[in-house]
Amino acid sequence: MNAPNLDVLASPKGGEVRAEGGLGRAIGRAFTANRLAVLGVGLIVVIVAFCFLGPLLYHTDQVYTNLTAANLPPSAAHPLGTDYLGYDELGRLMAGGQSSIEVGLAAAVMASAIGVAWGALAGYFGGVVDAVMMRIVDIVLSIPGLFILLFVATIIPPTLGTMIAIIALFAWLIPARLVRGEVLSLRSREYVQAVRVMGGRGGRIMLRHLIPNAIGVIVVQATFQVADAILIFAVLSYLGFGLSSPAASWGEMLSSGTPYLYDDYWWLIYPPGVAILLIVLAFNFVGDALRDALDVRLRQT
């Protein structure tokens, strides 16, 4: 009656495996569980749709100025009034959003790409290469950001492309540092050593192991950088280093609206400001949630 119950041995010796899906899915779950994250993504979707699809539904003339219709208060014809050139403010908000979002995304992507390459190389090679590369980062990083941005902006005529380049030029430093630190710590992970033991070379280690594992950190950072780039773009525009009409940006809209602060032309001050606030907020939400989700993942493994 005390015969061994062999049923318990029926499963493979190693036991069964929980099916949870890849890390991406785990992060995704943690992410979607975060209400702010969902709100952030929702905001981004709405704002992007507003800026890029809005003009398809709401046609306005964003090319020809109309000084006789300048600074009109909101009305049926112009739900958010008009600006100093007579452009419809609502349509302008869409056009300005396009450039602001484009600059934000492109600058973040560019900065991340440069930063990842730089940081990964420095972290992987270590030693003198690392020391020199990081000293360069230190040097550029120690220049007060806005100073150097203004400096460069006074020299280079602002277009969408140059704005992206200027912002990215000084935004890649942070991801470079971050990725270097990450690579430095990942480099000594056991699974990287395992690849060495198998005879795997640097390129494989870097591309298959180090960078994919640093990707979370990179994406989080890039998300924050979109927010930062949009803010910086707005600040530069506000300070007078923005795109020229008829190109629009939210920062420039605010900048050209400030003279009318005392005229109670609220439609020139609130909409672009709120738009900047919302998009930056959204990216911050998403970045924050991504970081938390990633932390959850890190805690799990």
């Binding site: 702010l36 000293r135 360069i136 230190d138 040097i139 550029v140 990083l141 120690s142 220049i143 007060p144 806005l146 100073f147 150097i148 203004l150 400096f151 460069v152 006074t154 020299i155 927010a227 803010l231 707005a234 600040v235 506000y238 300070l239 007078g240 920062g251 605010l254 400030t258 602060l261 005392y262 109670d264 609220w266 001050i269 400001g273 900047i276 606030l277 930056v280 907020l281 911050n284 939400f285 924050d288």
Partner: protein, 315 residues
């Protein structure tokens, strides 16, 4: 310790040298030059040539750089042609004002932000936490110039409670004499940094609250208040030291955007105007100063860290 300081000093010099090369190259390799900007619209070609010659702008860039460096080593920061003053005297005049503004804002954000952050950590996921978190997110997503404009619209234009701009004064004394005018600029700065201080403090405190040593303290039967004051605070403040170190440059280099929005004649505005007018000596000197401060800020933070954290040996 001395050797540590010496070494850090050496690093600082390397960084500053690098910065000076970058900035110098940016200003001097580009076409146009400062002459027309400085001499004004009516400058004759002869006057421009004379100006360029007098200031060495007609010599090779590397020579200009070396002569700049050598005068820098002699303590000469340069001369602002447009303002007919030495850069040093411009700084002497504007630094105290910027420091006053930034220091006020910094103190307020520390005094408000840190307790907020701790309170959030202690009441994590309760109403207070959510409210402050939302506020903090709004705070640091807000373009500071827009915040400034809103404050002006509400408190100066609509309510006429406060002056719309910072004290328009040459001296610190003048700024001190007009506290009402400082309210809005300080508020604009402080709101943004309270957001980041509280957020930072919150996560530092949460992280530390989860640490084993807090559990140890509880196991000793200490009251929560004692635990917060004696154990949590000091440890959670450690990362804040770095944040404060990062604020040091602004104490001297000013806050360009806020100074611009509120027309506060500080170092930030000095730089802004110099950039607009291509006042290169001012631009270069301020950028160098800013960089030096960043480096010094880091050093101060590290030193403070060394004092606050017994684990850190500065060697």
């Amino acid at each position: 310790m001395t050797s540590y300081l010496l070494r850090r000093m050496g690093q600082t010099l390397v960084v500053l040298l690098g910065v000076s090369v970058i900035v110098f190259a940016l200003t001097h390799l580009l076409p146009g030059g400062p002459a027309r900007a400085i001499l004004g619209i009516r400058a004759t070609p002869a006057a421009i040539a004379a100006f360029n010659h007098a200031n060495g702008y007609d010599t090779p860039v590397y020579l200009q750089y070396f002569s700049y460096l050598s005068s820098l080593l002699h303590g000469d920061l340069g001369f602002s042609y447009t303002q007919n003053q030495s850069v040093a005297s411009l700084l002497a005049q504007d630094i105290p004002k910027s420091a006053y503004l930034s220091l006020l804002a910094l103190v307020i954000s520390i005094v408000v932000g840190l307790p907020l952050g701790i309170a959030q950590a202690v009441r994590r996921n309760r109403f207070l936490d959510y409210a402050v978190t939302t506020g903090a997110f709004l705070g640091y997503s807000m373009p500071v110039f827009w915040l400034g404009l809103l404050l002006i619209t509400w408190f100066a234009v609509d309510l006429s409670l406060l002056p719309p701009e910072a004290p328009q004064t040459a001296t610190l004394a003048g700024a001190l004499a007009d506290p009402a005018a400082m309210v809005l600029p300080v508020a604009a700065l402080a709101i943004v940094s309270i957001a980041s201080f509280s957020r930072f403090m919150r996560s530092a405190a949460i992280e530390n609250l989860a640490q084993d040593y807090i559990r140890t303290a509880r196991a000793k039967g200490l009251t929560e208040r004692t635990i917060l004051a004696r154990h949590l605070l000091r440890n959670a403040l450690l990362p804040i030291i770095t944040l404060i170190g990062l604020s040091i440059p602004a104490l001297v280099a000013g806050n360009l955007v806020v100074e611009q929005v509120f027309n506060y004649p500080g170092v930030g505005l000095l730089f802004f105007n110099a950039a607009l007018r291509r006042d290169y000596p001012v631009e270069i000197a301020l950028t160098l100063l800013g960089s030096a401060l960043v480096v010094v800020g880091n050093l101060v933070a590290d030193l403070a860290y060394g004092v606050a954290d017994p684990r850190v040996r500065l060697a």
